[in-house]
Every structure is written in C-alpha cells, then in structure tokens.
C-alpha cells in the first residue's frame, strides 16, 4: 500500500496522471536518444512511427522492457513482430504499462509501404485497453495511428506521426473520456556515415505544453553504437528534463540496445531492448 501511494505521489509530481504513458516512444535506441524516434527506421518504428517499418529488410521480432524504480507496478513492456512482403511490411505490436490492478495495454496491427524513394507511409490499427482494477473496470477504445517519413536528401529524413487523429474516445465511460491525440514531427540528419542526430517536437492533447527531444548516435566501432539525448518540456507543471544515454551492439541475427535515463524528478531508469532477425 505504501509503495502504491508513493507511486501515485511520484507520478503526480511528474505531472503525468496514470493513463497514456504507453504512447511514449519505445525501443532501446530511442530511449537512449532522448526518445527521439519519429524519423528513425527499424522494428520499433511500429510503435514510434509506423512509416519507419517500410524499409524493413528482414523478418524481425523484438522485446523491450523499461522500469523506473524496478517495481512490478511500474514496468513497461513491449513486443513487436514485423515481416516485409512484396507489397509493404506488416507487423504486430503489443505494449503494456502497469500490473494486475492497473494496466494500460495496446495491441496494434501495422502496415507500412514505400512510395518511391521519397515517401514512406505507415498505418496501425489499435485496440487500447485500460484496466483500472476491480472498482473501475475496463475501458477500451479502437483507434488508429498514421505516420509519414520522407527522405528528402541523402542525409535528411523528415517524419510526422499522429496517434488517434480522429480523436476517438474511450468506450464504457460516462463522458466519453478522451483518448489523447499525439502529434510528433521531427528530423533525422546523418552528418557522416558514423554520426547521426535527431530532433523532434511532440504535442499530446491530454498534457499541457509540448515536449522537445533530441539525440545523437555515434558508431564508435563497427556495429557498436554510443548514444545520448535529452527531452525537455514546456509544461509549466512538468518542466523537468530527462537526460539519456545508451549503448547498442549488433550482430548478424540480433541486436541489443540498453539505455539509462536520468529524470530530474523521478530519478534513474534503465531500458533494455532486443531485436532478433530471421532469414537472410
């Protein structure tokens, strides 16, 4: 009980009420780069900007785990699977925040496709389930998310992502409680073959203010990556910044990315993600 109370206080401190943490960008790479990810590619794009799935080269399976205080109640888990086909990439995603008494869950079916060199479009249909425990019951919503990426020069990629663009609301609630719209756009710039920088801005309609994120990635040795980033908010109640850093290592059939975060109010957290590739 004490732990739960402490958790509630800390979450309130952070200016974030319970819901909607699961729309945060995921993946060990994004987590290390201040969560900037709207213009990145790869498997975790399925949850960050599905357009980034379009160029996927192999069938991939990924798992991701994040936890601020290492409590059962604050665990954040994701899993994703994607397979490139002739007519684009399809994928499945799942993520969950919370524990048996309170959890947020999202199940997604994604499709992404390349439209020539300059345009990638991704779409994901989502089933969102909020499980608020015995007294409050379950609330759910069906919605979708859209993403665009455009590689406008060899070095510069732009991305836009909108979660729940039609502003669909939670069912089983009295006032049709809103599900937020989350709008992100940003850029990724490849300075050199080894060095990449990312910047993005996010607006979540259920939070006041907006967030800015940035990160860099440096391939120090072949297939070994060092990453760092930051996120800052303009929300008057939540102006705390987050500093992030991380490492990544890639082998032929798998990659592992770990990240550490330092949040000014919440303290430190660790994230870990693994991706396995199948086929040639």
């Amino acid at each position: 009980m004490k732990r739960t109370l402490a958790l509630i206080i800390v979450l309130l401190l952070a200016g974030r009420l319970f819901a909607y943490d699961i729309i945060n960008p995921v993946g060990g790479r994004a987590a290390a780069m201040g969560r900037s990810s709207v213009a990145s590619q790869g498997l975790w794009s399925i949850l960050n900007n599905p357009a980034g799935l379009a160029g996927l080269d192999k069938m991939k399976l990924g798992i991701y785990y994040e936890n601020y205080w290492m409590l059962d109640a604050t665990a954040y888990k994701s899993a994703a699977f994607a397979i490139p086909l002739n007519y684009g990439t399809i994928g499945l995603s799942f993520n969950q925040f919370g524990y048996s008494k309170f959890s947020e869950n999202k199940f997604g079916l994604a499709y992404a496709r390349d439209f020539g060199r300059y345009l990638q479009i991704g779409l994901q249909l989502d089933y969102y389930l909020l499980n608020a425990g015995e007294n409050y019951g379950k609330k759910s919503a069906i919605t979708f998310e859209l993403g665009i990426q455009s590689k406008i020069t060899d070095k510069l990629t732009l991305g836009t992502y909108i979660f729940n663009p039609a502003s669909l609301t939670l069912r089983q609630t009295i006032n049709n409680e809103p599900l937020p719209i989350v709008f992100r756009f940003g850029a990724s710039y490849r300075f050199t073959k080894e060095f990449l920088g990312q910047l993005e801005v996010e607006k979540n309609t259920e939070l006041s203010g907006c967030s800015f994120r940035g990160g860099v990635e440096y391939e120090a040795f072949k297939d070994f990556f060092i990453r760092a980033g930051a996120q800052i908010g303009t929300n008057p109640q939540n102006q705390q910044g987050i500093l992030t850093f991380g490492l990544g290592y890639k082998i032929r059939f798998a990659e592992i990315n770990i990240a550490g975060q330092m949040h000014q109010a919440l303290g430190n957290a660790v994230q870990i993600g693994m991706i396995f590739s199948f086929g040639k």
Partner: protein, 710 residues
C-alpha cells in the same frame, strides 16, 4: 464517437472522390505563395483580427495571370508589389541599360542581388516581350485580346448560430445588436474585364453572412423602422473602370479605386503591409492610382481620378463621394444638424443596429498630388480634403481627445525617395489642418552584396489627424507615436538567409488600451534555409513587449503595465516526386504580463497537397491540433483557401482543425473550388459569443467558388 468516425470517413470519402475529378494550375507560384502567406500572417497578428486581405492580395493574382513585361517600365510594379527591393529594382534597370533587353528569363539569375528565391518569384510574374506600353490602344485589340472573368462564391458556417434563431420583434428591439436579420449564407459575384493591365473594368456585388438578401425574415414593424435601409438584393455593389498609358494621360480611374502616395503618411487608401518582415521593403513604393476590384467595404475611393504625366512631371487629381457607415447620435433639435459619434469600419450590415448605421453619412474626399521623378530621385506633394455630411463628435474620453472630430479635414505632405545602387533615402512629412506634424525618414543601404540594412525614424504628433494615413508604425492610427526601427537582412552562406529587426516605440499620448503614455519594443529574427531544390525551412523567433491597462480589479485607477508575447515558429515544406507537397509547422507562443499568470499556446500541423502534373485537379489537406491556455496565447495560422479568398484565423483553447480544399478545372474556362473545414474543440461546449454563438463542440465552414474565364 460514432459520429466523429462517420465524419472522418466522410472526409476521406470526399478526399477520394474529389481527387478523382479535380485541376492543376498553370504556374508554380509556390515561392510567391510562401512570401505572401508569411506577410499576411504578420498583418493578421498586428491588426489582431482576420481582415479582408483580398484588396491587398488580388494584385498578385492579377499579375500572375497577366504577367509584367520585363522589358518595359512596368517592372516598377514588381517594386510596388514588394516582390523585389529597391536595390534589385535598380539592378534590374542597370542590367537592361548595359546588356539590352532580356532575351531569356534565366538571365534574371545574372542580375546583381537576385537570389534563387527572388528569381523564382519574379519568374512567376513576368514575361519577355518587346515594349508595347507606349502603343495606341485599338478597339479591335481590346475586343480580340481582352479577357473576361466571372467569379462567384458561396460560403457558410454550417452549425446554427444564435443570431440566426427566430426572434420576436420585441426581442429584436430589446437587443438590436444580437439578431441577424438576414440569412447565414455569404454570396459574392464579380465580373471583370481586362486588356493586359492597360484597361480594366468590372463590377462586384456581395452579401455577407447575416445580411439581408432577396428573402428575409423581417416583420413589417422592423421594415418600417429600417426605412430605406430595408432593401432587396446584395448589400454591396461596386464597379470600376481603369485605363493607363494613353499618351499624356498616365492613369484614369472611374468608380471604385485606391489611391496611395509617398510613404502613406498623408494619403494611402486601402490596406498596406505595415510593419512586416523584409527590412528592405520598409521603404514603400506607392502605386498612385489603382483599380479597386475587391468587395471590401471600407477605405476606398468612389468617384473619378486622373494622372497626367509630361516628361519628368506628373500630376494627379481625384474626387470621391460615397456613403459611409456611422453611428448617428441624436440630432440637434435647434438647427436639425446631424451628428455622428463614430465611424463604422467593419462593412457588416447584419443586425438592426448595423443596418441603422448603414450609409448614414456621406464622405467627400478630393485633392491631388504632383510629382517630379528622375532616374534616381522622386519628390512629391500631396494635398487632400475630407468633408463629412455630419459632424463627428466622439464620446469624450482622455485617450481620444486628439482624434479627428468635426466635419472637415485637410492634409498635405511632401514625400521623397532617392535611390542609388547601394543606398536609398526616403521620407515623408505631413501636416493636418490643426497644424500638427507627422514625419518619417529612413535609409536603406547595401554595403556589400550579401547584407543590407534599414534604419527608420518616425515621429507622429499626438495631434496629427488623417483618415487615410497608412504609414509605417506600431499603431494603425499614425498619430501619437515615435519610434526607431533597425533591420538587417543577410545571406552570408549559400542557401541561408537571416533577417532581424528591432523596433523601439513610444506612444506619446494615451491609447484606448493604455491610460498613460507608454512604450515598448519588438524583436524579430528569421532564419531561412533552402535544404535542397525540393525542400526549405524557416525558423522565426519573436518577442514583443507593449503596455496596456492592468486588469487587476483591486486597484481604483487604471494604470498600464507591460505585457510580452514571445513566439517561436518553425515551418518546413518539401516536395515528394512531382505531385506531392508536404509541410509541417509548429508554433509556440508564450504570453506574460505583470498581473496575471503566464499562458502558453501550441499549434502543430501537417499539410498535404496533391497536385498531379498535367492533371486538371489538385487537393490540399491540413490536420492541425492546438492547445492554448487562453485567448492571450492564441496563434494565427494561414490556411489555404479558394482563389481570391485569404484566411488567417486565430485559434485558441484546445482542439483540432482540419480542412480539405479541392480544385477542379473543366474545359479550360471553368475552375471550381470547394473547401470544407472543421474546428473541433475538446474543452468547451460553446463556441464564440453573442450572435455568432454556436452551441456545440465544432464549427464547420464551407466555401464553394466558380471562376469562369472567356
């Protein structure tokens, strides 16, 4: 939720349907569009309202459809339209002087000071030809080469607004400003004829939403009360006839026209880009006489005017006589003289109040301008007199005690401009008949190729009065203001442009918002980068501090306090393939004043335009979300619109905004536009207030326009 989903699906359906039918236009006006969008946005922010910009912007459309001959003297229009600055104008003239007429448009790239953006803009609005401007106009040519155009437009807010609800006579009489007597549709029709830009003629008619038309819902009692203001038909009618370059007669205008000279201190009817971004355009290039083709109902001339020119001299005489809206107060019982307590500038005649003020008095304006212009120097003198048919007596207040009152007003002034290759001096001094002066003087210089700066000082006496002043300044009144502006424009790196200015100003008398003399400043920085041929972005930072009365209820006297608005705006647009244009934008606004908490606003959007090459249709879509704490942190965002319509609505509170604009060209002659937009609020159940109140969470606007050319 179901409803929302249906709406969204409907939207997608319309998108799919219209994309199957609609047209691509001829010119790639992208660069020009971007320039205008930004300036109109600034204008909306300055004037704090979404005004009618058609008057200001239709010239750009006209010249893009009737290009300017780059080898004629008409290139001065490029300067007047602010598409090039004075140095580029001088360089263009020099280029022709040394190398002869242009043979290819690509030669523009070789003109000193023409960067890629300028070249693109100018290319979209000029052509290469031999100079025929001195030729005699033949009736045969006028018939054969004349162009006719009809523009018809309908628009409406689809949700019921409170002012349109059926009301009893007693309710209308009780609250005469709260009930619209007409229908919620807006209609506009315009016909125009032009033979190049030498002869232009046309008429226009308009009925705003809420104004009476052929059918109305007005009872006999109200009809009797309205008297002659109860009419059938359009609310506004206008016509114009304009000709230029006929021997010594340089310009002649009949009907509706606009007139502007010098720096706008003495006489500048119509709108102008006040304090906008391009430092080198702070120096105004007045158009003299020009036809007024729009349906804006305020600030124009109706009558006749002529400009004659002989060698380096030119002279203009004009007369205007039209009815204007005014708030008629009690007539003096002794001598039966009419008095008015204010002049109405909105042009709306929707409610009983507005109708009773409609065309209440007559305004006569007459005067003239003489000018001497050589290659580098222009000097002019303007004199004009305004006569109202009724005495204007303002409700006495401290702030308005130096405002114009009475029946007649005389203004005169001297303006000059001296421009060489690398610098230009300009200025104007004006005086009203109460012996009050106003003056501005400026220098703009280009010490090296990639940098130019502008310095402007202005001092307008608090007693200076003019009904047609539109000069550079913080306040739109052109009175009681002193200030100094310094702006720099530099492109030290290829594909990068930096623009910055500071403006310090002081109001030397009270204003309606600040009950003591006040001061403030305005800082601005804009960085533009051309990423590639297909992509560019800009970043704008701005901070503006002014004073206005404290709203603190705990004090007995009003006293002004500082308030500051900081904004950050990021814009990126890029082209994908040949047919797709994408853009993103993010705005952040922070408002602060001494006696309230800070407030902030945020706006983010995605624009998608599909313009397939060689196809007769195009489609534009925007998806935006916004979240502002209050009205103070509102954000102005330009929206693409049907041709000849320009909207810069401000958004505040919380919600989303979507619109879809389609264009379809049929049989070359007919172009159709349709636009539907919807704002959906998530934190309120009532939108707007007073007669335009809507009960609900959303507001939907529809516009349909047809343009027929023959």
């Amino acid at each position: 939720m179901m409803k929302k989903l249906l709406f969204f699906i409907g939207f997608l359906f319309i998108a799919a349907y219209s994309s199957a039918q609609i047209v691509n236009d001829t010119l790639s006006l992208e660069a020009l569009n971007q320039l205008l969008i930004e300036q109109v946005e600034r204008l909306a922010e300055e004037s704090e309202e979404d005004a009618d910009y058609e008057d200001l912007l239709e010239n750009y459309i006209f010249y893009s459809e009737n290009p300017i001959n780059i080898n004629s003297d008409d290139i001065v229009h490029l300067l007047e339209l602010r598409l090039i600055n004075v140095f580029q104008y001088e360089a263009l003239k020099n280029y022709r002087k040394y190398y002869g007429d242009f043979l290819f448009l690509d030669e523009l790239e070789m003109v000193d000071g023409f960067d890629e953006q300028t070249v693109n803009i100018v290319k979209s609005i000029v052509y290469i030809g031999t100079d025929h401007s001195k030729d005699k106009i033949k009736v045969k040519d006028m018939v054969r080469y004349g162009k006719h155009q009809i523009v018809a437009r309908y628009e409406q807010v689809l949700e019921p607004q409170q002012g349109f609800a059926t009301a009893s006579d007693s309710a209308i009489l009780d609250t005469p400003g709260q009930h619209y007597l007409g229908s919620p549709q807006k209609y506009q029709i315009k016909y125009s004829y032009n033979y190049h830009d030498k002869i232009r003629a046309g008429f226009a008619a308009e009925k705003d939403a809420g104004e009476m038309f052929f059918t109305d819902r007005v009872s006999d009692t109200i009809q009797a009360l309205l008297g002659k203001q109860y009419r059938k038909g359009f609310d506004f009618y206008g016509f114009h006839l304009f000709a230029k370059d006929m021997g010594v007669v340089k310009k002649v205008a009949l009907g509706d026209y606009q007139i502007a000279f010098g720096q706008g201190l003495t006489l500048w009817s119509g709108m102008s880009f006040g304090k906008t971004t391009e430092g080198s355009s702070v120096m105004k290039a007045a158009r003299g006489l020009s036809p007024k083709t729009s349906t804006s109902e305020y600030s124009f001339m109706r009558g006749a005017a002529v400009t004659i020119g002989f060698k380096d001299f030119s002279a203009t005489a004009f007369y205007s006589n039209r009815a204007i809206d005014a708030n008629v107060s009690l007539a003096d019982s002794l001598d039966d003289a009419e008095m008015v307590s204010s002049l109405q500038e909105t042009g709306y005649h929707r409610t009983l109040n507005e109708l009773l003020n409609r065309h209440a008095i007559r305004q006569q304006v007459f005067g003239g301008h003489i000018a001497y212009a050589t290659n580098h120097l222009e000097i002019g003198y303007t004199l004009h007199h305004t006569l109202l048919s009724a005495e204007l007596i303002l409700k006495p207040s401290n702030y308005n005690q130096f405002y114009f009152q009475g029946k007649s007003l005389t203004n005169h002034g001297i303006d000059f401009r001296y421009a060489r290759n690398h610098f230009a001096f300009f200025g104007e001094a004006a005086m009203s008949n109460n012996k009050a002066f106003a003056g501005l003087v400026g220098i703009t210089a280009k010490p090296t190729g990639y940098i130019n700066f502008t310095l402007l000082y202005r001092n307008y006496d608090k007693r200076y009065q003019s009904l047609f002043s539109n000069a550079f300044g913080e306040s739109s009144r052109g009175q009681g203001e002193e200030g100094i502006y310094f702006g720099v424009q530099a492109s030290p790196l290829p594909y990068w442009t930096f623009l910055a200015y500071t403006d310090f100003f002081r109001m030397t008398w009270l204003t309606s918002q600040a009950y003591s003399p006040s001061w403030g400043h305005d800082y601005y920085l804009k960085v533009t980068h051309q990423i590639s041929r297909r992509a560019n972005f800009n970043l704008i930072l701005r901070s503006k501090t002014k004073m206005k009365n404290s709203t603190d209820d705990h004090v007995f006297a009003h006293y002004p306090i500082f308030y500051t608005k900081n904004s950050v705006r990021f814009n990126i647009s890029y082209q994908i393939g040949n047919d797709w244009f994408l853009g993103n934008r993010a705005d952040y606004e922070h408002y602060y004043n001494e006696d309230a908490v800070d407030s902030q606003g945020f706006y983010i959007c995605q624009d998608i335009t599909f313009k397939p090459q060689g196809k007769p249709y195009s489609l534009t879509f925007r998806y935006a979300i916004f979240d502002t704490d209050d009205y103070n942190s509102r954000i102005y965002a330009y929206e693409n619109d049907v041709l000849y319509s320009f909207s810069v609505p401000s958004v505040f509170d919380k919600g989303m905004r979507i619109y879809l604009l389609g264009k379809l060209k049929l049989f070359n002659a007919l172009t159709l536009y349709a636009r539907i937009g919807r704002t959906i609020y998530s934190n309120k159940d009532e939108i707007s207030s007073g007669p335009s109140l809507i009960e609900g969470k959303h507001k939907t606007d529809l516009k349909v326009e047809a343009i027929y050319k023959f």
